[in-house]
């Protein structure tokens, strides 16, 4: 912390500022208009991900405005001396995927990005906030951010996940329990044996969706799993610096028995594959359940929002989702597009086919994930099964680049938001794990992956 004056928010120093094309242009314009510089270009890294094409890395494939915005990021980074992983870069990918895989994200850091899913980086024990464009400008100019003190919220996950259950099911389960605004004003810390047992990629999946409960950040205290993941990564400290950093990180880990403003306990042992039926990520349920009936909700506003959501989804209270026909499956996004996610999907798809009439899109989170998957031959499994294998980017997660659901289509998606129109105007998103999404692609209908493993 740089300063804390009375009746003012704290001034926090930002150790890592990540940037992408959509939320930064107005911030750079602000700097330019005021004749300011980027204070710490060495702590600022940019990538192109939200509106980039995934069929091939050719800007002629997206509309002119998207292409102009991508080019503008190139100009801004060149002018202000910011490192950019551009379309040609082998390090490019979704901002929250590459931060971790390049070793930029480290324990104890204060990290920001003009993107709400910055919470992903909390998986390393960093404090990572999504910010708006005005704040992007503040951080570019001063390397600092104003923050009022958040409350702390422990989500303790007990038990052991069964076969066919993934970190995505944990977080969808937590969302269904905590609610879409249950985390407002809080930073969530995930604790408990089920979290400790997760690898880093799974922890990132959990922290990623923290924002869907409205929390400012989500985190997991670092441990040996964290340090092993980081060792040897491009931007991670090396040699003596590594030893010193490691000592610092071990000290920074939250000790057991820390006091929280609020605690919720969740059992991963009894967890089933989760799927959403509504239009926000907390409207989810175990895949074998029926959609709740309206008398299930005591609050009249909540009842209205469920009613509205089901009307949009063209689903009925009390209806089962298992066996419901689907049109599209999307494997991708900063929630589930890492190599372990692709391995899960490919493992299930190997020797099988995507059902006739179903479109399956597999979009790796970064060019590095893509190379790794290709080295393992996963792309061949996807292609042979009839899925599309794409270049890295956000793609159908937010449908800015032309990858989108058509109106009325049902899409099982491994991404994080099922809002109305999020994945294409009129499209109907069902959020689930890579296993559930893949099993559903094979059957052409919503399927419990445990029946296929």
């Amino acid at each position: 912390m740089v300063a804390q004056e009375p009746e003012s928010p704290a001034v926090l120093y930002i150790d890592l500022h990540l940037i992408h094309e959509v939320t930064s242009p107005q911030a750079f314009s602000g700097l330019r208009a005021a004749g300011r510089q980027v204070r710490r270009p060495d702590k600022t890294f940019a990538t192109m991900d939200h509106s980039t094409p995934t069929l091939a890395l050719d800007l002629n494939l997206v509309d002119q405005m998207a292409a102009a915005q991508v080019r503008q990021l190139g100009k801004n980074c060149a002018e202000f001396g910011v490192t950019l992983f551009d379309l040609e870069s082998e390090r490019r990918g979704i901002v929250h995927i590459i931060g971790a895989e390049l070793g930029l994200t480290q324990p104890g850091m204060m990290i920001v990005c003009g993107d709400s899913h910055t919470s992903t980086h909390g998986a390393f024990g960093a404090l990572a906030f999504g910010i708006g464009t005005s704040e992007v400008e503040h951080v570019l100019a001063t390397q600092c951010l104003l923050q009022t003190k958040p409350k702390s919220f422990e989500v303790r996950v007990e038990g052991r996940m069964g076969l066919g259950i993934t970190a995505k099911d944990i977080i969808l389960g937590v969302m269904a329990k905590v609610g879409v605004d249950g985390g407002n004003g809080h930073v969530i810390e995930y604790t408990g044996p089920a979290i400790r047992a997760l690898d880093m990629e799974q922890r990132m999946t959990v922290c990623n969706m923290t924002i869907e409960a409205g929390a400012r950040a989500g985190m997991v205290a670092p441990d040996d799993t964290t340090f092993e993941y980081l060792a040897g990564r491009e931007y991670a400290p090396r040699d003596q610096a590594w030893d010193a950093a490691l000592e610092n990180w071990r000290q920074a880990a939250t000790d057991d028995g820390a006091a929280y403003d609020r605690t919720v306990t969740f059992d991963a042992g009894g967890l089933e594959p989760m799927i959403t039926y509504g239009t926000n990520p907390s409207m989810g349920m175990p895949i074998g359940d029926r959609i709740p009936t309206l008398d299930h909700f005591s609050d009249v506003n909540q009842r209205q929002s469920i009613e509205r959501a089901l009307r949009y989804m063209d689903l009925k209270p009390g209806q089962r989702l298992l066996g419901h026909a689907i049109d599209v499956v999307f494997i991708g996004s900063c929630t589930n597009s890492r190599i372990t996610d692709l391995r899960l999907a490919a493992g299930l798809l190997d020797g099988r086919k995507v059902a006739e009439g179903v479109r399956m899109l597999v979009v790796p989170g970064s060019q590095s994930v893509k190379r790794q998957a290709e080295a393992e031959g996963l792309h061949e499994i996807f292609r042979t099964a009839g899925a599309e294998w794409r270049e890295a980017g956000c793609s159908m997660c937010l449908a800015m680049n032309g990858d989108e659901l058509e109106a009325g289509q049902y899409g099982v998606s491994t991404s994080n938001r099922n809002y109305e129109g999020r994945q294409g105007k009129g499209g109907r998103s069902l959020l689930a794990s890579p296993l559930t999404a893949t099993a559903s692609a094979i059957r052409g209908a919503i399927t419990d992956p445990r029946t296929m493993i």
Partner: protein, 197 residues
């Protein structure tokens, strides 16, 4: 940004809770590199029918709300994406203040930085306000930031919380960047003592 001190206006009532920023301004309109003109696409997918014509049912299209500067919104307004395009679009349409029981943190932050005042009232006042608009769509509400009160009807008044720092920047119309820039010495001192990152 424009100063905010006192505002009297009728309301745009939007009772739905958990309205996300993807609805306020869908992603396909985020390809801009400036802030202007986004009001045209405010709530685009709710304002327009599939054939592109205006949806007469949607509150923002009703004749009686035209010119209103206060949005009366359901709880947890502005959840989801951090896009500052959401407050930009609201302001560009003409909204200067929102009244709700709660907001998503990032939206609230973004709004204050642009002179869009997020007013928090309790559930009782919230439903009184909806009741009032229901009876009279032209009924006016006054928001006074100096005294932190919302007043309406025959002498109803409710106070609302606002942190002193945000209040100051809204009243003066000053960007919070100025405050950060004034910290230059402390920032340099911090950097000098935390080298090696």
């Amino acid at each position: 940004m424009e100063k905010f001190s006192r505002l009297t206006s009728h309301l745009v009532p939007l009772a739905q809770r958990d309205v996300d920023t993807d609805q306020i301004i869908p992603a396909r309109f985020l390809k801009v590199i400036d802030k202007e003109g986004l009001g045209e696409h405010l709530f685009e997918d709710w304002r327009k029918l599939p054939d592109g014509s205006p949806n007469p049912e949607f509150v923002f299209n009703r004749p009686e709300v035209q010119g209103a500067q206060i949005l009366l919104a359901g709880s947890n307004f502005g959840c989801g994406s951090s896009r500052e395009h959401a407050p930009w679009a609201l302001l560009d349409w003409g909204v200067r203040a929102v009244i709700s029981t709660s907001y998503a943190d990032i939206f609230r932050n973004n709004s204050i930085k642009n002179g869009l005042l997020p007013v928090i009232v309790d559930a009782e006042v919230h439903s009184e306000l909806f009741g009032m608009v229901d009876r009279d769509p032209h009924a006016e509400v006054t928001i006074d930031l100096v005294s932190q009160t919302v007043s309406f009807g025959n002498g109803h008044a409710a106070s609302f919380p606002m942190d002193p720092f945000a209040k100051h920047s809204l009243l003066e119309g000053v960007d919070q960047l100025g405050y950060l820039l004034s910290m230059e010495e402390k920032i340099s001192a911090y950097e000098a003592s935390h080298d090696g990152f």
